[in-house]
Structures are given as structure tokens and as C-alpha cells.
Point group: C2
Chain length 190, copies 2
DNA sequence: ATTCGTTTTTACCATTTGTTAAGTGCGGGC
DNA sequence: GCCCGCACTTAACAAATGGTAAAAACGAAT
């Protein structure tokens, strides 16, 4: 039975059984519990994750020690600190599990080897990654200029599956408010 | 004398005089006055701008009729609605001149022709565009989780040249506050 | 130089959000 | 089954921001 990444890639392009085996061999399976870190800010990110099951979050700690959630990534999405991964620069962001999660892991080394073997895989992943980036920006931008109640409603409309699986405090930090404010907003809505 | 774009590209790669002439021929020079629109939301964006002089802004009007500024683009930066430009989908964002501006314009048609002639130009512009995207995201993210006074100070530190050239109301909409609040913040800082 | 229109500043009050602190509820481990 | 810890809720007050409106400053055009 094919892994989640290969099933996903097959939506875009046919992949032979032989290629499939080699792609699969380049991957590592890992599981993380809610709250565990996959990658910590201050290092160069040399892994790329593909979410098979669960939700990841990309986030940062600001000077006051508050967590800021930049993005949520769910099933069939790639997750890495792209700038760090591509350019070998230190990342300011961390990646953690927003709920229990299963991921497939490419190391940069394994991925480069795969790219050399199968240029079409590079094309495919580059294209998917690029489009995902544009979609993420559009999503984040769409929240701007709305009050927090509206942002919460938008979030519930657009990412209900995430809303149901991750802690309230993560959602609050994603929406740019305190957990107490989010709790109050929830109360006032119903 | 070479145009601003060619001078910029030469920072990354040598370009022969012959190529230079053809690239130059593919471009159109335009100037806009502060407040004028280069592109309006609701259409497919089929032009790519390179800022030779001045500042552009990518922005949106929300349902309440408020302007939200997503990004400022200044000299030596490309500006287009990338998702719309790449995928021929209707854009929700507009592009306007944040101050008087001179731009070099590629139509999508001219750019594709150029790409067919000179694959390295495509590589170069794709690479620059991709990195610019990552930088823009990093910049926007870095403002998150700070109060508006801090965001304004960060903006003054990081983009002082823009701060000095564009209307206060544009900066306010970029920082996610009203012009009155920004004016108050300015007063309290000094 | 004057005027007109626009942008920015200022002020006052209403609303929203943050802060602090305490209470409630739920689930895991013993 | 009970206890403990953690996440979430609730509340009261302080602080920040928005809304409205009017004054001041600035620029463009005559």
C-alpha cells in the first residue's frame, strides 16, 4: 500500500512502481505527540515534512515570550521553513505538533538525491510548494483588516477541521489575540 | 544607458549587449502619479512591474470599504499579483502608486516570449521572485504579536525610505490601524 | 500670495482587548 | 475511583484602539 505522499503526488502525475519504491525508500516515518517540536528556531532547517495525519504549526516566540502561530499545516501539505531549507540560513520559526501527528520526512540530503534521480519530482514538489506558498499568503492576508470576532468566524469557516483538532491557545495565537479574548468571543457568539 | 531592470539583473548575471537590447525592447516605460492604479482587483493581472523609481503598494478593499495595504514595493523590486499572473485567476488585490513612480512593464505575452528566447532570464526572474516572496512573508510575519506602537517602530527601522515617501494613511493601513491611531502613536513617541 | 481641497493632527467618548486572578471542567496516572 | 495538572472559562479592571468630529497644516492651482 502506497504511502500518503505518493498517493498525493499521483493526483498530479503518474508514478511508476519502480519510482514509487525509491521515493518511499527516501522517506522516514515519524509520529509526534501534541506539543512536541519537530524543529526548533535558531537552527538551519534541513528537513521537509509531509503531513500524513494531524496538524503542524509554524510558530515563533517573540521577545515577551509569547507564541505566535504563523501557519497551520494539515494532511497532504508540506511543511518546512522554506527560506532556511533553501538557503541554509538560520530559521527564526519553529515547527511543532498542534495535535498528535504522523509525518513523512525528507532530509535535504535524501531529497536532493531524489531530485537528481527524478527531475520530475523536483518540478512537482517545487510547483506544489510554490502554489502552497501563494495560497498561504492569500489566506493570511484575507484576515487582515477584520476585528477579532470576524477573524475567528472566518477561521471557523475556512479551517473548521483544524479548529476542531488544535488547542484554543494555538488558535488564539494564530488570530493574534489572547486565549482569554478568544474564550470571550466564543461565549458572545453563541 | 541601460534601463533599471537590466542594471539590476546584471548584479546576478552577465548579460550580453545583444540580449540587453532584446530585453529592453520587451519592456514598456510608464509613470504614475501618487494614488493612481496600475491594476484593479476583479481582473486577471497580466502585467509584471519592475519599480525603477518610487513605491508601489498591493492592497485590497474590504467589505466595509477600508483599504488594507498588504505590501510596499520599492526600487528594484518586481510587483504583480503573482497568483493571478501565474494561474490566470481573478485577483482580489489591486496595485497602486504609493507615491509618484516610474515602472518598467512586462506584459505576460512579452515576458513569455522573452522566456522562450532566453531561458536564463526565466530562471533569474523566477529565482528573484521566489526569494522576494519568502522575504515578504518573513517581513510580514515579524510584525505579528506586537502592539501597534512597536509595529510602527519596527516599520521605521526596517523601511524608513518607504515611511518617508508614502502617505500616513497608507502606512496605517499597512500596520493594521486607523490613521488617527497612527497619528496619536507618532505624537506619543516623540 | 491666496484659496481650496486634502491630509494630518487633536480631542472626546465608546468599544474592544489585555491583564490579572480565580474558578471550572476534563483526562491521565496512580 | 480519586487526585492532580492542565486547559479553558469567567470576571473585574486597566489600557489601547476605534469612531466621530473639528481644527490645523500642507500642497496644488489660480
Amino acid at each position: 500500500m502506497p504511502n500518503a505522499l505518493i498517493s498525493f503526488l499521483k493526483l498530479f502525475r503518474d508514478i511508476s512502481a519502480g519510482d514509487e519504491a525509491l521515493i518511499d525508500a527516501a522517506l522516514e516515518n515519524r509520529s509526534y505527540k501534541e506539543g512536541e517540536y519537530l524543529f526548533r528556531a535558531g537552527n538551519v532547517c534541513r528537513e521537509m515534512y509531509f503531513v500524513a495525519n494531524g496538524v503542524l504549526r509554524i510558530m515563533m516566540l517573540n521577545e515577551q515570550g509569547n507564541e505566535i502561530t504563523y501557519f497551520f499545516l494539515k494532511e497532504n501539505q508540506f511543511c518546512t521553513i522554506l527560506n532556511s531549507f533553501n538557503n541554509n540560513v538560520v530559521a527564526h520559526e519553529s515547527i511543532s505538533a498542534a495535535c498528535d501527528v504522523d509525518v513523512l520526512v525528507f532530509t535535504k540530503r535524501a531529497l536532493n538525491k531524489l531530485y537528481a534521480q527524478f527531475p520530475y519530482v523536483k518540478q512537482l514538489i517545487d510547483q506544489i510548494t510554490q502554489q502552497a506558498l501563494l495560497d498561504k499568503i492569500d489566506l493570511k492576508n484575507s484576515y487582515l483588516g477584520n476585528d477579532s470576532t470576524t477573524r475567528y468566524k472566518m477561521f471557523m469557516m475556512r479551517q473548521p477541521d483544524i479548529a476542531l483538532r488544535v488547542p484554543l491557545s494555538d488558535i488564539a495565537s494564530y488570530l493574534g489575540i489572547t486565549p482569554q479574548s478568544l474564550s470571550r468571543i466564543r461565549k458572545n457568539i453563541r
